[in-house]
Amino acid sequence: MMRWTLWAPLLLFAFFLGLAGYQLFQPKDEFIPSTMIGRSLPEFSLEPASEARPGVTLADFKDGTPKLLNIWASWCLPCIAEAPHLEALNEAGVEIIGVAIRDKREDVDRFLATHGNPYSRIGSDEISAIQLEIGSSGVPETFVIDGNGVITHQHIGDVRADDVPELLEKLREAAE
């Protein structure tokens, strides 16, 4: 038997140790990013999710100005946490279009009454159809959409105070 073959198991093991050791100290990123960045929103039309705002269609994103598309739900706790920051973005002049996932009209209305309403339009997506179309895997998620309906950026998880400048920057980039 050749001598080097005896070292092969040790080498393979060392490779595994290196890999496992490296991965152990990597921040564990469990988010599944959308692979739709740079591609257009699909043709769609959603019924209004609330009395207060109209529904959403693809055409609403094609008026030339970049917008935020916020995927949220009244039953989602982090959505409460991000509400003030969406409000701040709205006050900075950003148009936010909401899509409420698997939600009821009365729950949406109650949420908006309690936590504020930064949305210009809110569509109701009862079977996560649009969510699946744009590669979103959870609530809340926020997408930056340019003036032609093309997705340019995805923010996973709730929007926090320090995410606001970044989203404004992404919107500026999308406008160029």
Binding site: L6, L10, L19
Partner: protein, 663 residues
């Protein structure tokens, strides 16, 4: 007080493990070293202390001592006693304590009973066992102390995950751990044999009962785990190729290969380095499994908090023990001659072929399990699942099963294929006929793999009994019966798996009480859905009647349970077992119009999967008994022969040489 006693016992056991290592190591230089004589007693006392420590943990769980942190975070005063006790090992710290307890107990057993190997090899083995134990004691005492007290006791515990509150599951982890730890003994024997260059048939015979024992427990553990997943998860799946399942399958594959190669070593003094290697690999797979599960490296934050400290501790232990053993292997195995070549048509030829196949399957499972980890290092995320494991594994499994059908019929050394022509013809005919029958008789499209599975299972089930032909069944050694049963169990299990994949019927319906449905020849009727309450849950329980043909009306009661400590929703499936399969019913959510979601499956012969597993374990158990009995008998005869020879010798010499100098 009990917690402190347990903790103190753990420290003392750790100290004894160090003594065991030192004594064993010194004995390698000087057999007369004073510490050398202490190795065996140290191992025995260590075993006792570890058991004592574990008993103390059970005690604090039994009395729900909420000043102990582990109890407060994992138990609840309202839980049934059996789940209070199983809660002791249903968590990280407790399960690691269980691990070292079983390990120390195994060490104590070999120190007490095992007298066959040269003392020097035994001391090296026990030193290795002590060395491995030290790492786990350090892990427990330094980073996962199960006896830690809270500054102030809490009023009530957090409770145990409801899915774990299940009788089958209470005994699932200890069973698997016995398997894992049994392999640690095989590992220690392998290291001891390498250190003292005593890789010989005697070593294989001493190691074999431990491998067999570990293998029996692993088989039972995997079988039980699979059945649990099947009835508890509520979707009728019994194997998902989930990383954690694979983590329990890999040691089993390695142990299966090891026990067969140990047989070749025991009978033919061949495959020395290969057997040693497998001894190291089998335990590596146990530790790797523990690492994958405990570190959370392959699971998610959604599932469980990742703990890099624990992960790196186990990884360090892996590096030391497995790295060390592989280094030793690389340095020493060159001098362990592999020597012989095998005739292709011979018992050992078949055994070697299947050993290579088993190791390849192990390689595939390892690759598929770890591959996502590799790509994540490059920020690419992939999933490897059944569509990969099934066909790629089958490339190696199918030839293995075919050789397995014939191998036991062959003679050692060299055989003639002509001699076994008739049995081969029978098996091939069975396989072909079954395949044809299934294709002709089935109305739906049966996949290629299930079809092959069914056909090979039928051939193999007959083939596994052929080694008994021409034998006096009463005088056939138990170990042969063990092999026959285990191989038959493989065929049975395979038949169940193939049948389940090929012929399962599924029906999802939404019906109101009073309405009926049909599945697998059963008339199903939803009688009612009522709320009921258990000790720590409430549930909606459906009352479903099932009737096949003109047979008796059977009642199934699936539940949708809501636990309140901790808050969680589970589905409790209801099963109706018939000789030819199982009816599986789950009740889901109500719809606004008052109808209830029912999920119904008819799974033909699905139970054979687990009966097969039980048969395999039973075969293993018979083989252990058979081996031990024949070994004791052989050693007795040998001892008697030696005595007689010595007597003759001394008579012949008639005192010419003084006694004592004949050695």
């Amino acid at each position: 007080m009990s917690a402190e006693l347990g903790h103190a016992a753990l420290w003392m056991a750790a100290a004894l493990a160090i003594l065991q290592l030192l004594g064993g190591a010194l004995a390698q230089r000087d057999a007369q070293a004073p510490l050398a004589a202490l190795v065996r007693p140290a191992a025995m006392l260590q075993g006792f202390l570890a058991v004592f420590s574990f008993a103390m943990l059970l005690w604090v769980f039994a009395i729900t001592d909420l000043s102990v942190k582990l109890v407060a975070t994992n138990s609840h005063s309202m839980k049934p006693m059996i789940f209070k006790l199983s809660g002791a090992w249903g968590n990280h710290e407790g399960s690691m304590l269980l691990w070292v307890t079983v390990m120390a107990l195994a060490g104590a057993l070999i120190a007490w009973l095992e007298k066959r190997l040269p003392e020097k090899t035994m001391q090296a083995t026990l030193a290795s066992q002590g060395f491995v134990a030290i790492g786990f004691y350090a892990f427990l005492l330094l980073s996962s102390n199960p006896f830690e007290r809270l500054a102030s006791p809490v009023a009530e515990g957090n409770g145990l995950n409801p899915l774990l509150q299940d009788i089958g599951l209470a005994f699932h982890p200890p069973t698997l751990y016995m398997g894992y730890v049994g392999l640690s003994v095989a590992f220690s024997f392998a290291v001891g044999a390498m250190l003292t260059r005593q890789v010989n048939p005697e070593f294989a015979r001493v190691m074999r009962p431990w491998v067999l024992g570990a293998w029996v427990f692993l088989t039972l553990g995997i079988t039980a785990g699979s059945y649990w997943a099947y009835y508890e998860l509520g979707w009728g799946g019994w194997w998902f190729w989930d990383p954690v399942e694979n983590a329990s399958l890999m040691p089993w594959l390695a142990a299966t290969a090891l026990l067969h190669s140990a047989s070749v070593l025991a009978a033919r003094d061949a495959l020395r380095a290969w057997t040693i290697m497998l001894g190291v690999v089998a335990f590596s797979m146990s530790m790797l499994g523990t690492f994958l599960v405990r570190s959370g490296i392959l699971t998610s934050v959604h599932a469980f908090a990742v703990d890099p400290e624990r992960g790196s501790f186990i990884l360090a232990l892996l590096a030391i023990y497995i790295g060390g053993a592989l280094l030793l292997f690389a340095l020493r195995a060159g001098s362990v001659s592999e020597g012989q070549r095998f005739a292709a048509v011979s018992r050992e030829g078949a055994l070697v072929f299947n050993n290579v196949m088993l190791c390849s399957i192990l390689g595939i499972v390892l690759l598929g399990t770890l591959y996502p980890l590799l790509t994540e290092a490059f920020d690419v995320r992939v999933s490897v699942g059944p569509p990969y494991f099934n066909p790629v594994g089958a490339i190696f499994t199918i030839p293995m099963l075919l050789v397995m059908a014939v191998g036991p019929l062959l003679r050692w050394r060299e055989d003639n294929i002509e001699r076994v022509r008739a049995p081969i013809a029978i098996v091939v005919a069975l396989i072909v006929t079954t395949a044809l029958l299934v294709v002709l008789a089935s109305t739906t499209d049966v996949g290629v793999l299930p079809l092959l599975g069914l056909a090979i299972a039928v051939g193999l089930s007959v083939a596994s009994f052929l080694p008994l032909r021409g034998r006096n069944l009463l005088r056939t050694p138990l170990s042969i019966w063990g092999m026959v049963l285990a191989h038959f169990g493989i065929a049975v299990s395979l038949f169940g798996m193939a049948s389940e994949s090929a012929f399962t019927e599924e029906k999802l319906v939404a019906i109101s009480p009073g309405e009926t449905s049909q599945i697998g020849g059963f008339a199903i009727s939803l009688e009612s859905v009522d709320p009921i309450a258990g000790p720590n849950w409430t549930a909606m329980e459906a009352r479903i009647t099932a009737r096949r043909g003109e047979g008796a009306v059977e009642v199934l009661r699936p539940q949708s349970r809501h636990f309140f400590a901790p808050v969680q929703q589970t589905t409790e499936s209801a099963l109706l077992t018939r000789w030819d399969g199982q009816l599986y019913a789950v009740v889901g959510a109500p719809s606004p119009d008052g109808r209830w979601q029912l999920r119904l499956w008819w799974k033909p012969f699905v139970t054979l999967i687990w009966y097969g597993g039980l048969l395999i374990s039973l075969g293993g158990a018979l083989a252990i008994v058979g081996r031990l009995v024949s070994d004791i008998r052989r050693r007795r005869t040998q001892a008697r022969d030696d005595d007689e020879r010595e007597e003759l010798e001394s008579l012949r010499q008639s005192g010419a040489i003084p006694a004592g100098s004949t050695t």
